[in-house]
């Protein structure tokens, strides 16, 4: 079942993506297919199967709490569109 255009618009807003009308229609259809697939999985009998916590059979991977110096601030800023006073500068938020 395809999503409604309103649902696509809502998801697009949450993801900060702007779509034109034909894209909205396309995603309504494609996202619907994804949900259909999830529905198919739901119909499988899984009562006797342990839930999988993660795709890898590994758990408890840790670091010790030891400081390793941080990179130089100017290097960190190399990709920043704007920086000043040692800080990232961003456009007005609200």
């Amino acid at each position: 079942m395809a999503l409604t255009i309103a649902e696509v618009e809502h998801v697009a807003m949450l993801a900060r993506i702007s779509l034109n009308q034909s894209e909205k229609e396309q995603f309504a259809l494609e996202l619907g297919l994804v949900l259909n697939y999830a529905d198919r999985l739901k119909s499988l009998q899984t009562d006797n199967i342990q839930p999988l916590d993660h795709i890898l059979p590994v758990s408890n991977v840790f670091r010790e709490d030891v400081v390793i110096g941080s990179p130089d601030r100017e290097d960190m800023f190399a990709n920043a569109p704007m920086a000043e006073d040692g800080q990232y500068r961003v456009p007005k938020i609200i």
Partner: protein
């Protein structure tokens, strides 16, 4: 507060954990560094980097769970909470959603002599966001600056059940929770610096109604007083709205400290679509019973145990015991004093009274003050051996607080030695009695005030240095012997 309504309160508390490094990278967490000097590609959200969990964070989370009587499930995992805001460079926060590390705990609070159990719904681990600096107000600033030092600092979010029914209970819960976190050594809990933060969920319903009323969430509560005032304000606002037939909206509000009121920030419906999903970059955690037991075995003395000790072993009133165990520093100070001075109640009186007054006045914690346990004991001994009076001791303590000097030096430098020589005092007393025959008559005819006059004159003549107990004794003696 209207009698026909009750206020329902739940608190969400964020505590910054006391670690050397951030939760998912090895950047320092030290407070007060230059902006963006404690960041790396991981906490600054560069594409393609991978988080690795700090083991200490899990240890401290388990410690907290035990302190708050929680169950610690043997599996937990992390999730992504998605939202766009410039303080979060990844555009998601790594948090825990449906499988937090601790669940179903409780905390007992005491309000006006009554004990009440407040449920803890959950405790989960997450990362903090960065800090935004606006030029003035956020709505009028032309741009904002971002400091990511705080980004990735480990936090625990501690969520209570909606079990509190007054601002007073909420404050008691917060104070007790702070004490527990301090004693357990998991957080510095400095509300002003933001290492302990609190949001309050408040609703109001007519007494007897089972369903909750519409709730609002109040943010920016960075002191116990703000918490209390904001809840009182918000509850009154709700009651007024209900009485006036208005519909309340579920929303987030902020506490305006200056104007002492709450203001609407944003409505909740749209803001809360976080689309949580399991964090694929982190592996699940398996928490064995052995792990939990090893933390339990190393547990420090907690406030309630300490209170019991103070009441049972040293005979202190419950109230004193509660106040002295609000922070580990305060308890340690008391214990140190007690090692060198036998009278627990006297120590407690000075700590809760004069010393506490000076701390509050200067907005300081006991650990930040220059007054040492040894210094306070020395001062108490000087009162006992008659060198100084209790009144002088207050001056001495003030001086100790200001300069950090030891009492002996202060007493010498200020010439504060008490006059306890009977001969000297008797000469003064006789003199004053002789020059005031009228007042002697008053005294003889039973006027109590007359005695106070004489005592006052002697204190004045000695600039407050006469030993008051001795003056009273000698004065009474002399007056009663006048025919």
């Amino acid at each position: 507060m209207s009698k026909d309504y009750e206020v329902v309160i739940g608190l969400e508390v964020h505590a910054e954990l006391k670690t050397q490094t951030k939760i998912f990278c090895s950047c320092s967490t030290a407070f007060g560094a230059e902006p963006n000097t404690q960041t790396c590609p991981i906490c600054a959200g560069f594409p393609g980097v991978l988080p690795v969990l700090n083991k200490k964070v899990v240890d401290l989370a388990i410690t907290t769970g035990l302190a708050l009587n929680c169950e610690i499930p043997n599996i937990c995992k992390f999730d992504r909470k998605n939202y766009f805001y410039p303080d979060s460079p990844k555009a998601y926060q790594i948090s825990q959603f449906d499988m937090p590390i601790c669940i179903n705990g409780y905390l007992d609070i005491d309000v006006e002599g009554r004990r009440k159990r407040i449920g803890i719904n959950r405790v989960h681990m997450e990362e903090d966001a960065g800090k935004l600096v606006h030029q003035g107000d956020i709505t009028t600033t032309p741009f904002s600056l971002v400091d990511l030092n705080r980004c990735g600092i480990p936090l625990l979010e501690i969520v209570s059940e909606p079990d509190m029914r007054s601002a007073q209970e909420a404050r008691a819960y917060m104070e007790k929770l702070r004490a527990m976190l301090l004693f357990a050594g998991v957080s510095d809990c400095k509300m002003q610096e933001g290492s302990l933060r609190c949001d309050a969920n408040v609703s109001v319903r007519p007494i007897g109604q089972v369903e909750f009323g519409t709730r609002t969430e109040i943010k920016n509560l960075n002191s116990f007083r703000a918490l209390e005032r904001a809840i009182e304000y918000e509850a009154a606002r709700h009651i007024e709205a209900i009485k006036g037939g208005e519909t309340l909206v579920q929303e987030t509000r902020t506490w305006d400290e200056e104007k002492q009121l709450t203001r609407s920030m944003r409505s909740k419906e749209e803001a809360h679509d976080y689309r949580y999903f399991p964090e694929p970059d982190l592996l699940p955690l398996k928490i064995s019973q052995e792990w939990v037991n090893s933390i339990r075995a190393a547990f420090p003395e907690m406030p309630e145990q300490a209170q019991k000790r103070l009441v049972e072993e040293y005979g202190l009133p419950e109230y004193d015991a509660q106040i002295l165990t609000l922070t580990p520093d305060s308890l340690a100070f008391f214990d140190q004093c007690l090692k060198q001075y036998p009278d627990a109640k006297t120590i407690s009186n000075w700590m809760m009274g004069e010393f506490n007054r000076l701390l509050n006045q200067n907005n300081m914690e006991i650990g930040e003050s220059k007054v040492t346990a040894a210094g306070l004991v020395q001062m108490l001994k000087s009162i006992d051996d008659g060198t100084i009076s209790g009144k002088m001791a207050k001056m001495v303590l003030e001086e100790m607080f200001a300069t950090g000097n030891c009492p002996e030096v202060i007493i010498r430098e200020k010439g504060l030695v008490q006059i306890s020589d009977e001969g000297t005092l008797l000469t003064l007393i006789d003199d004053i009695i002789k020059t005031n025959p009228k007042v002697v008559e008053d005294y003889k005819s039973g006027k109590e005030k007359a005695f106070g006059f004489f005592a006052g004159q002697i204190m004045k003549a000695t600039q407050g240095q006469a030993n008051p107990t001795l003056v009273n004794k000698l004065l009474k003696d002399r007056l009663n012997h006048i025919q």
